[in-house]
């Protein structure tokens, strides 16, 4: 095709209105043709101004959090992968959790001969495995728990096909003395899915129970020994 024929596509190219093959062909020409490049640049500036005609929408604060996390996330992912792993990019909190898991793995390896630590290590390893298995599966989903969000930022990573889930606790206020947080899976009756006390650092809590059949997850404050049924309204909850 000649420059003349290619130049006919400039407007459609700038509007992202070419079919994929046409786009590739035009871009190949563009690399070789300074005349077309100059016109693309000029028309692109005009097209970009069209965005100003759009009634502005305000993005949520969580989008800003995701953008602010890009430098951290990109560092965790680089150097080998040329394309970011989508869920890592999409969920910076998870990326950090995954990094922690990796760090945990390193610690475990260095301590492997220390028999006295075997018990706790086995437990950590099980958690580590569970997190990695859940993370690796494309059917894995994430949801942020909502409600009294000033109490904490908690994300549930779950895979109903595998009946597996972990809670990523980014921040959580310390519960009153003698009390702890209890997790509930929303089955026809709320079923206890474990207890936890928040730590200073971001951490993950494995969730046990019938995740496959559940309709959601909630967190309540309960006495340290746990309750058979929730004794208060959930502070944070997510449903699916």
């Amino acid at each position: 095709m000649s420059h003349r024929e290619h130049a006919d596509s400039i407007g459609a190219y700038v509007l992202d209105a070419l079919e994929p093959e046409e786009r590739r062909a035009f871009e190949a020409h563009l690399r070789a043709c300074p005349i077309c490049r100059a016109e693309v640049d000029s028309l692109r500036a005009a097209a970009a101004d069209l965005a100003l005609a759009i009634p502005p929408a305000l993005p949520s604060g969580r989008l800003r959090d995701r953008i602010a996390a890009i430098p951290t996330v990109a560092r965790i992912e680089s150097p080998p992968s040329p394309r970011p792993i989508p869920w890592l990019v999409r969920w910076p909190a998870l990326a950090v959790a995954a990094a922690l898991v990796v760090a945990l793995g390193g610690l475990l390896a260095s301590n492997i001969q220390m028999k006295s630590e075997m018990a706790s290590m086995k437990q950590s390893m099980a958690m580590h495995q569970q997190v990695l298995t859940v993370l690796a599966d494309p059917a894995t989903k994430m949801t942020m728990l909502r409600g009294q969000e000033e109490m904490g930022r908690v994300t549930f990573v779950y895979n109903r096909q595998r009946n597996a889930g972990v809670l990523v606790i980014s921040t959580m206020k310390t519960p009153p003395a003698g009390q702890a947080y209890q997790l509930w899976l929303l089955l026809p009756e709320p079923a206890s899915a474990g207890m936890f006390k928040p730590q200073a650092e971001m951490h993950v809590v494995p969730v046990t129970g019938n995740i496959a059949m559940s309709k959601g997850i909630g967190i309540t404050v309960e006495p340290e020994q746990g309750s058979p049924r929730p004794t208060s309204q959930p502070l944070l909850i997510a449903t699916w």
Partner: protein, 207 residues
């Protein structure tokens, strides 16, 4: 354009230079300036909050990874960002359509699916004073709308369907009944006319 502030490209280029050196705070600053604008554009095209958020994140990830390759000779930072946002939004919608076999009206699966109402905001501009920012944006919006209205109706149609609806020239040909090939030519002429109209707005304001 017509009013000096906002599109302060020299300042934007300094942000890009800092990002290229690995300065994460500069990325957030650039987002504070243009994030809402990119997001509004993506939302207009994708009609889905999660998709628009993903697109905006992809744009700023691309900025983070590609700031060193930004070429100021080819346009302003704002144009670069908005062109990426448009391209990625159109791509995301087309991928979603292929996957679903229908237009992507529903938010993508997974996670946070709460739709948030679009509230008016101040995409990008930092005049320091909210009233001045709002006024500046309104002026800009009116200038662009006037420029759009100055186009011949068939030119305005292809720009509107292509830019705001993210349709391909084939889809537009099918929709409007115009012969294939005509739309491409019309798009080019329309953007050339738009560029001229926007330039005349600029000169008017500078007088």
């Amino acid at each position: 354009m017509s009013v000096p502030a906002g599109g302060n490209d020299a300042e934007d280029r300094r942000f890009i230079a800092r990002i290229a050196r690995g300065d994460g705070a500069a990325l957030t600053s650039l987002y504070d300036r243009y994030g809402a604008m990119c997001y509004s554009l993506a939302l207009r095209i994708a009609h889905s909050v999660p998709l628009a958020e993903d697109v905006t994140q992809e744009v700023f990830l691309a900025v983070w990874q590609g700031a060193g390759k930004f070429d100021p000779e080819r346009g302003t930072v704002r144009t670069w960002l908005l062109a990426m946002a448009h391209h990625k939004a159109v791509d995301a919608v087309r991928r979603a359509e292929v996957r679903r076999g229908q237009p992507a009206d529903e938010p993508a699966e997974g996670g946070d699916e709460v739709r948030e109402p679009a509230r008016p905001g101040n995409p990008g501009m930092h005049l320091g004073d909210p009233v001045a920012e709002e006024a500046w944006l309104t002026l800009q919006r009116e200038a662009v709308q006037r420029a759009l209205e100055s186009l011949a109706p068939e030119q305005r149609e292809v720009v509107t369907l292509g830019y705001f609806e993210g349709m391909t020239h084939r889809e537009i040909a099918a929709r409007t009944g115009a012969p294939l090939g005509t739309i491409k030519t019309r798009m080019r002429l329309a953007l050339q006319a738009l560029a001229r109209a926007l330039r005349s707005v600029e000169t008017d304001a500078e007088r």
